[in-house]
Subunit: 325 residues, 2 copies
């Protein structure tokens, strides 16, 4: 690969390779390799995310809410309480002031929902030959409650909870583009995971990660590689809303590879799983939570299908849904 | 203004209006209005900056070094020691891997120069119809040594030190674009101001700000508005390198409005100014430092010209040099 192509941005295998072979190799901080999306600095977690989604407005969300939720969720699954955020805007020349106002209001509303304060920012305007749609970067700082990114905390036999039905965000964006002949709309799952996590007992949580680009498949494969264990999922237990399932089938997408923006994978001890699930289901955004499977010894992600067969769930490769966040 | 145009990104009057009337108004945190580029969180300063410069490689610098220096400088002039940084890359499809490697190496080299550690990041790839050149966002965290953004600390009679000759960065970028018939090249002044500040006695520094987009003119007008005092500059004392002065004259730019990336304005008590200047001139990047003028009662920025006349130095407006950072 001498050219970076769109597959490098999909969150799958090529993204992973770009990050490891080009970015981390040349940054040359070996300790970054085993990190999640957030870094730990003393008692704080620190993270950043850029949002390049188009269209910038879509059902139940817009790029402003997405930027706040995305960064707050990275802090949350790192085991921190989101507290402070930066807001950096890169705006194409000719952008409507009215749309920027809507986005900024949405940033504030979303920040208030999780008690985050936007404390600093930056604004750039770029000529419209060079940039076609607005880009937002947020960086976030949060106080650590309990570090939830320790791969050593994952043990064979542990159970996997997924906090919501999957694949809604990616499909919402795809539909919102208006390129498909499909009646109705799908709402993004974008939400603040902290408003779910804050109701949980962190002592019962061993590991967490949000399943964004590349979906459940990407996140479980990445965790598997790093913890050197595997995952067995039960297809019959995986919750996908009917309209999402239908659209995925129609377009040939595996819902396990479709992006989410408000769905966390939580790994808990087998004897705690029912208690944790019960609590998750009572929390905000948790009513569709389910036990997705368990940790196995062999370093592979497998799905037990509804017909009883086993298939590998690979790290997604190639071009998935571009620009979903 | 119902459309955001390029003048909103120049760092002058329209940028200021966009930030105040659209962004801060809708974010609705009144306390942000009087801030510099960094926020204070307990003992820490927190800041962010996006870099959209083209070309991404230019004499003495590239977008990677610029991204690290820009954020480290925002922390420095806030009175903090830069410590941690995030690195978010937004890459157009088709970008050369080799160029990305050069940029990442440059990020690391520049981070090492100021003992900053890059601890987290994000990578997006955008189709090349939507984005033409690489964008980098950095956010930074630093420990506060002494807060240097207190407008109340500025008093009539205080002196202004500018830590280097001015206008080099903007002119370096303009030349590097290769659109001008001009032999030779100009080196950007991009550097880590902390490596200058760390040699100074912070007790003698009352206020600091770096003079980036919109140059000395923008930064002094902004400070003037917020401290409700004015500045009188002496043209004969302002240091501009000959080739920069020549190019500015040829193109009709006022060097006071041209961007810098390694130049700080420092405000000190009148009786300390000679001592501080002596020290600055001994520090890294400080050998061309000079006393530029003083704080006056009337809320205006004035220049005493070499011919003895007085002219207003306005907040720059309209399109300056686009995309210099």
């Amino acid at each position: 690969m001498s050219i970076i192509d769109l597959t490098c941005g999909s969150g799958g295998r090529n993204t992973h390779q770009l990050i490891v072979d080009v970015i981390l190799k040349n940054l040359n901080y070996p300790e970054l390799f085993n990190m999640g999306d957030a870094a730990y600095i003393g008692n704080f977690a620190f993270t950043t995310d850029s949002f390049v989604v188009t269209p910038e407005f879509f059902p139940n969300c817009d790029i402003g809410k997405l930027a706040v939720c995305g960064t707050s969720n990275d802090l949350t699954v790192a085991g921190a309480r989101p507290e402070f955020m930066s807001l950096s805007l890169i705006i194409p020349e000719g952008y409507k002031k009215e749309n920027l106002e809507k986005i900024i209001k949405s940033v504030r509303t979303s920040a208030d929902e999780v008690n985050v304060q936007v404390v600093c920012g930056d604004t750039k305007v770029v000529d419209n030959m060079s940039l076609k749609s607005i880009i937002i970067n947020t960086a976030g700082i949060g106080k650590i409650i309990k570090k939830l990114n320790d791969y050593n905390a994952i043990e064979v036999g542990d159970k996997i909870i997924i906090t919501s039905d999957i694949a809604r965000h990616g499909m919402a964006i795809l539909l919102a583009r208006g390129e498909l002949q499909f009646n109705g709309s799908i709402e993004s799952d974008c939400c603040h995971l902290y408003n779910l996590f804050k109701c949980l007992d962190y002592n019962c949580l061993n590991f967490a990660r949000d399943a964004t680009r590349g979906g459940i498949a990407a996140v479980l494969n990445e965790i598997s590689e790093k913890c050197r264990k595997g995952f067995l999922l039960y297809e019959e237990d995986i919750v996908v809303k009917n309209e999402v399932k239908y659209l995925c089938e129609m377009l040939g997408f595996d819902p396990l590879t479709v992006a989410n923006e408000g769905v966390s994978v939580i790994i808990v001890k087998r004897d705690k799983v029912e208690d944790v699930l019960k609590l998750v289901k009572k929390c905000n955004y948790g009513d569709n939570a389910f036990i997705a499977g368990e940790v196995i010894e062999r370093q592979v992600v497998m799905l037990k299908t509804i017909y009883g067969g086993l298939r590998n769930v690979e790290m997604p490769s190639g071009l998935l849904l571009p620009r979903i966040c």
